[in-house]
């Protein structure tokens, strides 16, 4: 069959439950990640290219607090978010006063410093292999994901098993449910936030920073707050990535990750949190769905095709529909 139709889609894509659960976990995590970009770019008009750095901080700090310090997982997550916010302030305080394109370059440099630290500070992060979780497991049989698997196993045997979803291929359903629950809650909260008086100031800054200043608003403080929210969301996404992968590797935090977030952002549309969810699902379904195309190509060629597609999405949307699919044209301020 595949000899006749080299491009035929293999039919097992319909039944690969664990595969698609994994894809939608990824979509949910990237959704959280991109919500942060949305509040920065879509609502405040600041171009944050360092979101992958906040994600890295969230992942590394959660694992370090849980495994090395021995704190409960949720406490570690809270601390990791605080660390990410502190990092956001550290980079935001000097560089948010700069022009938007300088800020973009400063933040990508910041994210790369974080990633290189993850790669090179072996004592702290386990280096390239990201082995802190494994090392500790050997010494004290303590895993980063221990706390989560207790919950997940309970859900598996008490909820999923009785309704007939007890098979191994559904094992990640609890994580999928949790990620998407958190994502939806965040979308609701952020929607309220941007409709509040605080959110109106944010949008005023996006439209015309000088006018907002003239009205007595401290634009700089609002921008810092917006960046802190993005940092928290990035850290949250990093936490979930660490739970999903059960370990942390710097390779997961390449600058590429931030730009996949931007592809999701413009796919869904600027100034729309619901659009982020749509964009994340579309992008990851397409990217991962390409695995089922029976292409007669090697793995690195397929990977290349996937990212060519991401690039074409960015170019095409920016050229022909810069507000994105669900974005509102009148809300689009792309900066001069």
């Amino acid at each position: 069959m595949s000899d006749v139709l080299p491009l035929a889609i293999s039919l097992n894509f319909l039944t690969a439950w664990d595969f698609w659960i994994g894809v939608f976990i990824l979509a949910g995590v990237y959704g959280l990640f991109t919500l942060g970009l949305q509040i920065n770019v879509g609502y405040t008009g600041i171009i944050n290219f360092g979101q992958a750095g906040f994600m890295a901080i969230g992942a590394y700090a959660s694992v370090i607090f849980t495994v090395e310090v021995g704190l409960p997982m949720l406490v570690s997550l809270a601390l990791a978010i605080l660390v990410a916010i502190a990092a956001g302030l550290l980079i935001g305080l000097p560089s948010l006063r700069l022009r938007a394109d300088y800020f973009a370059i400063a933040t990508i440099a910041f994210a790369e410093i974080i990633r290189l630290t993850g790669q090179n500070a072996r004592g702290l992060t386990g280096g390239n292999q990201g082995t802190i979780a494994i090392e500790l497991q050997q010494e004290e049989s303590r895993f980063f994901t221990d706390g989560w698997f207790e919950v997940s196993d309970w859900v598996g045997s008490n909820i999923l098993d009785p309704i007939g979803l007890g098979a191994q291929e559904f094992a990640s359903l609890p994580l999928l449910a949790l990620v998407w629950l958190v994502l939806v809650v965040m979308v609701v909260v952020l929607n309220r936030l941007v409709r509040s008086p605080w959110g109106r100031v944010l949008r005023a800054i996006r439209e015309d920073e000088d006018a907002a200043r003239a009205l007595g608003k401290n634009a700089f403080a609002y921008k810092l707050q917006s960046l802190s929210i993005a940092a928290s969301l990035g850290a949250l996404a990093g936490f979930f990535i660490a739970v999903r992968l059960e370990t942390v590797n710097q390779d997961v935090f390449q600058p590429l990750v931030t730009f996949i977030g931007y592809a999701i952002l413009v796919l869904g549309g600027l100034a729309s949190f619901a659009g982020v969810m749509v964009g994340a699902v579309i992008l990851w379904t397409v990217l991962e769905g390409m695995r089922f195309l029976d292409l007669p190509l090697g793995a690195d060629k397929i990977a290349a095709l996937r990212f060519i597609l991401v690039g074409l999405i960015l170019i095409g949307l920016m050229a022909f529909r810069p507000q994105g699919m669900l974005g509102k044209r009148e809300e689009m301020v792309l900066g001069e």
Partner: protein, 338 residues
């Protein structure tokens, strides 16, 4: 006691303020002074010989950083485009050279010339097919920024699709070295250094002395004003792309000749160092990018005397952030452009 401390603090404050005032009036002198102090400290700690040796390595790296940075800064200055795809133009040039030098087996010099011409051609095609129509549409900064990133993805992965991910190298002499005064430099590295410096000087002369160079600087200064004085801006923009992309192609070939390793990520990995050079020298300022590139090459290699070599690239990111914090307009820039 308290009052005394306060007074001392106040004096310190005013001394600091004076120092700051001096630094912002004479940025170049202060910066050179900082470099000299760092250099003297390193000589004192590590000895003149090892300092001179890493400085040679630093100048080699600096020469291709500078070549890349000039193209980046010219395009920014004239078109206000932060070209995130510039690093991948370096990669493109290097792969074209690989194709002609290794796959086809031509001499490196011919491969280099073809690579420069091909990269310049890609620059022109992208200007005509993408950037010029977007300028006509009055695209905003975010639009252009994300298009450049999309373009970077497409270029890098198209290269990966065709050439694969396995590391490549050019057919250059990797063994012979030249020794003088107890120092060594690889023969190829010496050629890279000389080529880099000669081309950099030629570009600087071209910008200063030829009417085309003056027109380019006029456009960078004030595009609309330059247009009203009768400069054919469309032509100058094309020349800018030829220069920017051509130099990127050359830099790509020199990087690979000097380091001996080429992957689809090579150029992107150099992009932030080039940004650092551009911002250090004052964004849009070609001479600044030239100096910034050399300084970054030097500081990266100097850092290996003090910290492990794997942190080398982090030095350029740190320089980038420090410059943005303390003097965002760069060493040669004026506050006006901020």
């Amino acid at each position: 006691m308290e009052a005394g401390t306060l007074a001392a603090a106040g004096e310190r404050g005013s001394a600091l303020a004076q120092a700051r005032g001096f630094a912002s009036r004479h940025p170049v002198q202060v910066f050179v002074a900082i470099l000299v102090v760092v250099a003297l400290a390193l000589i004192a700690a590590e000895g003149l010989r090892s300092f001179a040796q890493v400085s040679i390595n630093g100048l080699v790296a600096g020469s291709y950083f500078a070549l890349g940075a000039i193209g980046l800064t010219l395009v920014y200055g004239i078109l206000k485009l932060v070209n995130f795809a510039h690093g991948d133009m370096l990669t493109f040039g290097a792969y074209v050279a690989f194709l002609f030098n290794v796959t086809i087996g031509m001499p490196l010099l011919i491969a280099l010339l073809v690579a420069v011409a091909a990269t310049a051609a890609v620059g022109v095609v992208l200007e005509l097919g993408m950037w010029r129509p977007m300028r006509r549409k009055k695209a905003g900064m975010l639009q252009l920024l994300l298009m450049a990133i999309g373009l970077a993805f497409v270029l890098r992965n198209a290269i990966q699709f065709v050439a694969g991910t396995q590391p490549r190298t050019l057919d250059v002499d990797r063994t012979s070295a030249i020794s003088f005064l107890d120092l060594t430099i690889g023969r190829t590295q010496l050629i890279v250094l000389v080529t880099g410096i000669v081309v950099l000087l030629a570009v600087a002369l071209m910008l200063r002395r030829t009417s085309l160079g003056r027109q380019m600087r006029a456009l960078a200064d004030n595009f609309d004003l330059a247009e009203t004085t009768g400069i054919d801006t469309g032509r100058v923009v094309i020349v800018t792309w030829i220069l920017s992309a051509g130099l990127a192609g050359l830099a790509g070939v020199l990087v690979v000749a000097s380091t001996g390793s080429l992957t689809p990520n090579t150029g992107f990995q150099l992009l932030l160092a080039m940004f650092a050079a551009v911002i250090l020298g004052g964004i849009g300022n070609a001479y600044g990018a030239l100096a910034g590139g050399l300084v970054l090459g030097l500081s990266q290699e100097w850092s290996t005397l003090v910290i492990a070599a794997q942190w080398k690239i982090a030095v350029s990111f740190a320089v980038l952030i420090l410059v943005l914090v303390f003097r965002p307009q760069g060493i040669f820039g004026s506050a006006r452009t901020l």
